[in-house]
């Protein structure tokens, strides 16, 4: 059997290459990061105040932060759910100044002077909001993932007065999808609260 050998030339090339990489001076590294900054835009940090569930928060966030990511990732209010993140499912529905909106398509920095209510802000201490109670009593959910969005939308639906008929409720709840198919229970819950 032939013994594997390394030539002198091989040893010299590899070790000198390794040495070069190991000792790249700081100035070269700084130059590289400057070039990177030119190619990749640096992120924009913003400081602002938001009011969520009647509580004021001082925020330091990337300009790209949506209201959904702010409440979930920074404020640990994880009741609001991320479904599609593209405004197609309604799982992220919250109220801004009493109006239901999609938090995934709202920039956090654009709600500075407004009052935001999430599902966590609905109950009065230990006492559930009537809509939350109705969802439990009428089987308004199965897996529960769409439920916070459904409840926020349902509360708004009642406030807006769109509860005249089953058809009207369905039309005005069409922005909230439920893949378990708990729709009948949801409609029933809304009718119960509207009564």
């Amino acid at each position: 059997m032939e013994k594997q050998t390394y030539s002198r030339r091989f040893f010299l090339t590899t070790s000198s290459l390794l040495a070069t990489f190991a000792f790249i001076p700081e100035s070269v590294k700084a130059f590289y990061s400057n070039v990177k900054k030119l190619v990749i835009r640096p992120k924009e940090e913003l400081r602002f105040l938001v009011t969520i569930n009647k509580k004021k928060y001082r925020i330091n966030a990337d300009s790209r932060t949506t209201l959904l990511d702010l409440v979930r990732e920074q404020l640990q209010l994880t009741g609001t759910k991320k479904g599609c993140d593209h405004g197609q499912c309604g799982a992220c529905t919250v109220h801004v100044d009493g109006q239901r909106v999609l938090s995934c398509l709202t920039l956090a920095a654009m709600v500075q002077d407004k009052n935001v209510t999430t599902i966590e802000g609905l109950a009065d201490g230990d006492k559930l909001h009537p809509m939350q109670q109705a969802f439990i009593e009428c089987d308004g959910f199965q897996c529960g993932y769409c439920t916070p969005g459904q409840i926020m939308s349902a509360v708004a639906c009642v406030n807006e007065g769109h509860t005249g008929s089953v058809e009207e409720i369905k039309e005005f709840m069409s922005g909230n999808l439920c893949r378990c198919g708990a729709y009948n229970g949801i409609v029933e819950s809304i009718q119960k609260v509207a009564r």
């Binding site: 992120k43 309604g90 039309e171 069409s174 922005g175």
Partner: protein
């Protein structure tokens, strides 16, 4: 999303002078943020115009002026719009979801980009998103695409419902450009046909901003209908939609308006059918003939031939519904 700066201009002139190709105005954000998340729009800066533009509806004898920042849901429930221009309210309520209507602005609605799947998928060719890359929809998945007014470069349709009603009612779009002068663009000239430049959706002058929408007073508030045919009952884009409005003298049609969504790159008016209806008696037979005139114009693509009978039926039903509105 690519990082961007966010600022809030305090005057219209400040907004317009701060705008350039790499800057976008943001109002409701319902379309823009989605496009930014998908890397279809990658602005360096956003100008928040939510407190800058008017959010009021002003009614006068010669018509109505709707501020660009009026939210879609507010417009749909405004009493002056509901009584004088109910077709507009009806069209708004046929679009999107209650949440999106609460966010979306009237001005922004006009500037929505197409929902063509090839425009939305950055791995696909699309002349509208990337000029010169080709049109994937022309011989591909074109079930939702145009049946009239398209070109070999683009077969996308305009997604708005509101715009169909505004086109039918001869609205005009008031815009302010770099020169700080307000001009009115007739609605029929606002959106464009794709031709060889499908990357341009409309004729809004470069960097200009929409400040309001004017609708002239009319007598189309009694006999009107907005019919939208879609894949599910609600919260879906139109396969075809029809805005119809009649002015009647007893059973005689004095004036007719007929426009459609889901058929072209811009809100499409059926002028020939309107002309035909004028002076005729409002009967099923007349409506059927008008629908025949409409479908003479259309040339379906490989996968949307169903739009022809669908449109014929929709036109007939919409006109019929005008009588019972």
């Amino acid at each position: 999303m690519r990082p961007f700066t966010l600022s809030k201009p305090s005057t219209i002139s400040q907004a317009v002078s701060g705008k350039n190709e790499a800057v976008r105005y943001i109002a409701g954000g319902t379309n823009l943020l989605d496009l930014m998340k998908k890397h279809i729009s990658e602005p360096d800066a956003l100008l928040d115009v939510t407190t800058l533009l008017s959010d009021t509806v002003q009614s006068a004898p010669k018509g109505i002026r709707i501020g660009a920042m009026v939210r879609n849901s507010v417009a749909a429930s405004n009493s002056d719009i509901r009584s004088g221009f109910p077709l507009v309210a009806k069209a708004i309520l046929a679009g999107a979801s209650p949440q999106i209507r609460n966010m979306a602005s009237m001005g922004g609605n006009l500037l929505q980009r197409t929902r063509c799947p090839y425009f939305y998928d950055i791995t696909m060719p699309c002349n509208k998103r990337k000029p010169g890359s080709g049109c994937g929809a022309k011989d591909g998945e074109n079930r939702m695409s145009a049946v009239v007014g398209y070109s070999e470069h683009c077969v996308a349709v305009h997604p708005s419902d509101l715009c169909i009603a505004l086109a039918a009612l001869d609205a005009s779009v008031i815009v302010t450009g770099k020169d700080q002068k307000a001009i009115a663009i007739p609605f029929k000239d606002f959106h464009r046909l794709p031709g060889s430049t499908p990357e341009k959706d409309n004729n809004l002058p470069e960097n200009a901003i929409i400040t309001s929408i004017d609708i002239p007073a009319n007598a189309f508030n009694k006999n009107y209908a907005y019919l939208k045919v879609r894949d599910r009952d609600s919260y879906a884009f139109a396969l075809v939609s029809v805005a119809a409005a009649l002015q009647l003298d007893g059973l005689r049609i004095r004036e007719a308006r007929l426009a459609s969504g889901g058929v072209a790159h811009k809100p499409w008016r059926w002028y020939e059918a309107e002309q035909f209806l004028k002076g005729k008696e409002a009967t099923q037979a007349t409506f059927s003939q008008a629908a025949d005139i409409v479908i003479k114009e259309i040339k379906p693509l490989s996968n949307n031939g169903f739009k022809l009978p669908m449109l014929k039926g929709a036109i007939e039903v919409a006109l019929q519904n005008c009588l019972t509105a």
